[in-house]
């Protein structure tokens, strides 16, 4: 046996013996001081081989002995704290991994809460704040030859990453803030950077190092879902460090490559989210996607197809990263193809949640922004094929948002891949969504990579600024001219210039002169007149005329409805649809029974376009709403008279009308009374609610039953249960609305019964819009049918509906459907509550 070894062993054994038995503070202190020589950092350190022997063989055992001695009584043997200081220093100065393991082990095995536990927690906090974690990591990154090393490393890994959990469990309420995960992992991030710094320095010095332990730590932390804490620290620092340093970049790439496969997804997701842009991502990851299958899977499939919670800037980082290197670009094209395939699959359009479809569309647009024309041309046919299929199934959808997504993507796509022909053009609302999506599609660089463009970009920017300043000078020169001119030319300058014109946009050509004055004249003009001005004037005047003369309207109501229903826009009349609809509604309100009968019969007739059928539904709903509103006739007259003239100053128009002029004296009198009356207390100003019988009561049946009867009988041109599901969706919504408007009517119960059957028949419809309609219909049944009757006549249907609602609330793909189902369930609950106090 080596003499150094045996000497060290003897000393340690003696020291342990002294510590365990002796109570003499002087002896203990001197023993500890003597042993400290083996850790170096004293005036006369021990021989290097002795030090090594101590550190590898005896250090842990000795620390355990120290831990076992720890108690308040023992520490107070030296009142000046010298012993405590020495005790601490053994943990902080020696090999960090062993000290850490012993400490963790001791903390776990100590029963808390106690002095010892707190002391050790304090020590651990001290240990962390002295950057010992970095020391552990760099130690593990050195080439190791010891046997059993992987096992030790695994234990160490678990302890390092699991520290917040262990301490949280042990210390409970007394936990230190440093050990909270949100603090600890940030600290660990700093330590990782520090360890890497040492490794980089070592590599510069020609030493061999491996970063796999750091990778494992990083991976494990990310698996635990703490990506945000650690990467928020790590990414900015690494971004700065990798800038301009090849060595750092290589270390960083290596770090990522060494991450275990099962942690790859967690780390990459966190990185893509945390990275401020594609350049940073590219610098940190290198060509990781090409080297690691798992990374490729995560980046090109998982993040694109299986997750959709990320923001568009994340998408831009991800796809930008793929686009930045020529080796990675094939992956981008592949991704675009697959994205388009999914986008074009009708099953995906029907079943995927809206948010995911939006995410997919955004991803496609970002891809397109990155890809150049030659690359697209290579796979033009394939892309075109997917696009055509996709456009079709998007436009078929009954949800406006899905249709719009389809339009936007198709427009951009066709303009990029099919440059020869005229690009597709759709009409859609220019709102936040469409603007955001279109902004994504603007190519950031034409074809080339961003890196190359980045080099040349300062030059054009500079010229731009130059041009701007030149323009600015010209402008200012120009602007100084008109300032001088008027003074010269016009001697009698006065304050006239300060007159600011009012808005004169309402100054249009007058055309009311040609409007017919009778309803019958209107019909004649609308059917036969060739004079477009007269035709338009008739259309504009119609609603007012209908409301003014109910008797005359009733004589011709069905004829008028027929004319209006078949009316086509012959010239470009602004607001044609609205005018026609309002006129139809007015006619229906004036003569509800006959017109509703006519309209509902036409809904299922041959030879109507879908547009006309949907118009019928809208008109019926609006008319029902008008009829069911209390005091509707009075209000209607008001609306008409105020809408009669094309008034530019509506505020002044209010005083024009007779009824307001008539009530003027009343207001004056009331004002006078109010000023003369003294009130001691004032209640809330009471608003008088208009009241009156629900006029929808007598005619609700005409509106409702003909519509609900024939939905399952397909015609040649109209198949509600087949292709025309958009109309079916509208029908369900209309029926729901009619049901709701039929509140307090006698026919509501039988309507509810019929509607519940209708809902039952269609409850598994594939179209989201239809399902939404059905759910709203259920809600309106619950609101409109009296509670007693619901339980009396419809109890079984309700029970069935309830289980269906519960199912939808839990499983439906569409969020709106789920919410509506929950709402309906709540209504059911409320119904129960309302009935329970009555029943006993």
């Amino acid at each position: 046996m080596d003499p150094a070894q045996s000497a060290v062993r003897l000393t340690v054994r003696e020291a342990i013996h002294t510590l365990s038995s002796c109570k003499d503070i002087g002896l203990i202190l001197s023993t500890l001081e003597f042993l400290k020589r083996y850790l170096g950092e004293t005036k006369n350190p021990a021989l290097p081989e002795e030090q090594e022997e101590f550190e590898t063989v005896h250090y842990s055992a000795f620390l355990r002995c120290l831990v076992s001695k720890l108690s308040p009584v023992w520490l107070e043997l030296s009142p000046d704290g010298q012993l405590e200081e020495l005790w601490d220093s053994f943990f902080l100065k020696g090999p960090a991994d062993q000290a850490f393991l012993v400490l963790m082990e001791a903390i776990e095995s100590t029963a808390g809460p106690s002095f010892c536990l707190m002391k050790m927690a304090q020590l651990l906090a001290n240990f962390l704040s002295q950057n010992r974690m970095a020391a552990i990591m760099e130690e593990q990154c050195r080439p190791q030859k010891k046997p059993g090393f992987p096992l030790l490393q695994q234990t160490l890994l678990n302890k390092v990453v699991g520290l917040p959990d262990h301490l949280g469990n042990r210390l409970q309420q007394d936990n230190l803030t440093l050990f909270f995960p949100q603090n600890y992992f940030r600290l660990l991030g700093e330590e990782v950077v520090r360890a890497l710094q040492v490794i980089v320095d070592a590599l510069r010095g020609g030493l061999d190092c491996s970063v796999s332990f750091v990778s494992q730590v990083l991976g494990k932390i990310c698996i635990q879902g703490r990506q945000k804490e650690i990467l928020d620290v790590l990414v900015p620092q690494l971004t700065a460090l990798t800038q301009g340093s090849c060595l750092w970049q290589r270390v960083c790439w290596r770090l990522m490559e060494q991450i275990p496969d099962r942690a790859m997804e967690a780390v990459l997701t966190g990185l893509v989210v945390a990275a401020p842009g594609p350049e940073v991502l590219s610098r940190l990851l290198g060509n990781l996607v090409l080297k690691s299958k798992k990374a490729q899977f995560v980046m090109t499939r998982k993040l694109l197809f299986l997750q959709y919670q990320h923001t568009t800037s994340t998408l831009q980082s991800l796809l930008g990263y793929l686009a930045m290197d020529s080796q990675r670009r094939p992956l981008l094209i592949q991704a675009l193809k697959e994205l388009l395939e999914t986008w074009g699959s009708s099953s995906a359009v029907r079943h995927a949640p809206l948010a995911q479809q939006h995410y997919l569309s955004a991803a496609i647009l970002v891809c397109l922004a990155h890809l150049g024309e030659p690359e697209l041309r290579d796979s033009q046919d394939e892309l075109l094929g997917s696009m055509m299929a996709g456009v079709k199934c998007h436009l078929d959808s009954s949800l406006p948002t899905v249709r719009r997504l389809g339009m936007i993507v198709a427009e951009v796509l066709s303009s990029r891949i099919h440059r020869e022909g005229p690009p597709l053009r759709f009409q859609y609302e220019d709102d936040k969504l469409s603007r955001e999506l279109l902004a994504l599609a603007t190519p950031c660089t034409a074809g080339g990579s961003t890196l190359e463009a980045g080099g040349s970009s300062p030059a054009p920017a500079a010229t731009e600024i130059l041009e701007k300043t030149v323009d600015g000078e010209v402008e200012s020169a120009n602007s100084s001219v008109p300032q001088v001119r008027p003074q010269d030319s016009d001697s009698d300058l006065d304050s006239d210039d300060e007159f600011i014109p009012y808005d004169m946009s309402g100054d249009k050509e007058l055309r009311s002169s040609k409007a017919p004055l009778y309803v019958r004249d209107c019909i004649e003009v609308l059917t036969s007149s060739e004079d477009m001005e007269r035709w338009e004037a008739a259309l504009r005047a119609l609603e007012g005329l209908v409301c003014k003369s109910p008797e005359a309207t009733q004589e011709v109501s069905v004829e008028l409805a027929k004319v209006l229903l078949h009316l086509e826009e012959r010239t470009c009349v602004s607001g044609f649809e609205g005018l026609r609809q309002r006129a139809l509604v007015a006619v229906t309100v004036m003569d509800p029974a006959r017109v509703a009968e006519y309209l509902t019969s036409q809904f299922y007739a041959l030879n109507y376009s879908l547009r006309q059928r949907m118009d019928i539904l809208d008109v019926l709903t609006l008319a029902a709403q008008e009829l069911s509103r209390p005091g509707h006739l009075k209000r209607h007259a008001q609306q008409v008279s105020s809408g009669s003239g094309g008034l530019c100053l509506p505020a002044q128009a209010a005083c024009q009308h007779d009824h307001t002029a008539g009530s003027g004296w009343r207001a004056v009198v009331e004002e006078r009374i109010r000023s003369k009356t003294r009130r001691f207390s004032k209640g809330f100003p009471r608003r008088e609610l208009a009241n009156g019988p629900n006029e929808f009561n007598s005619v609700a049946g005409y509106f409702f039953f003909p519509l609900i009867q024939h939905f399952d009988r397909p015609l040649v041109t109209f198949d509600l249960l087949g292709d025309d599901q958009l109309v079916l969706g509208r029908l369900t919504h209309t029926l729901g609305a009619l049901m709701y408007l039929a509140v307090n009517t006698t026919v509501a119960v039988s309507m509810g019964k019929a509607l519940l059957e209708f809902v039952w028949a269609l409850r598994f419809h594939v179209d989201i819009y239809v399902r939404r309609g059905l759910l709203s219909a259920v809600s309106s049944i619950l609101l409109s049918v009296p509670a007693e009757r619901l339980l009396g006549d419809l109890s079984e249907e309700l029970l069935e509906a309830r289980s269906w609602l519960a199912d939808v609330a839990e499983k439906d793909v569409d969020q709106d459907c789920r919410e509506q189902a929950v709402r309906a369930l709540l209504l059911l609950e409320r119904l129960k509550d309302r009935l329970l106090p009555i029943s006993p």
């Binding site: 006239d496 004169m504 050509e509 003239g645 100053l649």
Partner: protein, 252 residues
């Protein structure tokens, strides 16, 4: 209102011009004149002194204008265009007097769209210009700037000026959205100009530049007349049986 007296002159379709006394809350007709012409033309008043004023009314002949001395109702003269002129009926009249002289002049707008300047004492036309295609329905003259503006049944406003030799010249024309102007009035401070339109609207222009300032859409039938009060308020009377009062660019 006659200037500086509590008397009101009214002209009706019944061919009567009535003089009302409104002093101290009275409202009685004190005098009336029978007109001999059935037309649209309004008469014009020029006050010479406290109790003397001159009145221009459409005359007996279809194209004549008669000048009366009031309150004595004596006919001063009849202004009859030359035989070959054929201007049609006079549509609107405006008597005025240059500040320096006491010579009264008459501006008359005629059915053929022309405006003529008459020297009343000499009974002859000083100048005549053709401004419009349609009959002149109303004009106003700003004697300070020696410029006037006229509106017709057509779609344009015409601005014309009068030079030192008593000659009229067309300065510019301004197109309107809808045809038909029944009256044109310049605000007493000569800053803005308003027109009463057949299209139910009152239009406001800056008088110096003829820049459109506002379109007041309130009436539901054609506006017949516009007038300014001394405090700058604008009143407009319309066929829809309403008079609207407007406050516009109030800084007199």
């Amino acid at each position: 209102m006659l200037p500086q007296s509590p008397q009101l002159l009214s002209q009706g379709r019944d061919l009567r011009l009535c003089l009302w006394d409104l002093a101290e809350g009275r409202n009685a007709v004190v005098d009336s004149i029978c007109l001999e012409s059935v037309g649209f033309c309004r008469s014009s008043v020029l006050a010479v002194g406290q109790a003397r004023w001159t009145l221009a009314v459409p005359g007996k002949g279809i194209d004549e204008v008669q000048i009366l001395e009031m309150p004595s109702k004596t006919s001063v003269c009849t202004l009859k265009p030359e035989a070959d002129a054929k201007p049609g009926m006079p549509m609107c009249l405006g008597l005025w007097q240059a500040e320096s002289s006491s010579r009264p002049f008459l501006l008359a707008g005629y059915e053929d769209g022309s405006i003529a300047l008459w020297d009343v004492w000499e009974r002859k036309v000083c100048s005549r210009i053709s401004c419009h295609e349609e009959p002149v329905m109303g004009f106003d003259f700003d004697s300070q700037k020696a410029r006037g503006v006229s509106g017709s049944a057509g779609k344009a406003l015409t601005v014309w000026s009068l030079d030192g030799q008593q000659a009229l010249q067309v300065c510019s024309t301004h197109q309107l959205t809808n045809p038909g102007i029944s009256e044109v009035t310049i605000r007493p401070d000569h800053k803005i100009l308003t027109t009463a339109g057949w299209d139910h609207r009152i239009r406001v222009f800056q008088w110096r530049t003829m820049k459109p300032l506002a379109v007041l859409a309130f009436h539901s039938a054609s506006v017949h007349c516009v007038a300014f009060a001394t405090n700058g308020l604008l009143a407009a009377g319309s066929k829809d049986q309403r008079i609207s009062i407007w406050s516009l660019y109030q800084r007199m």
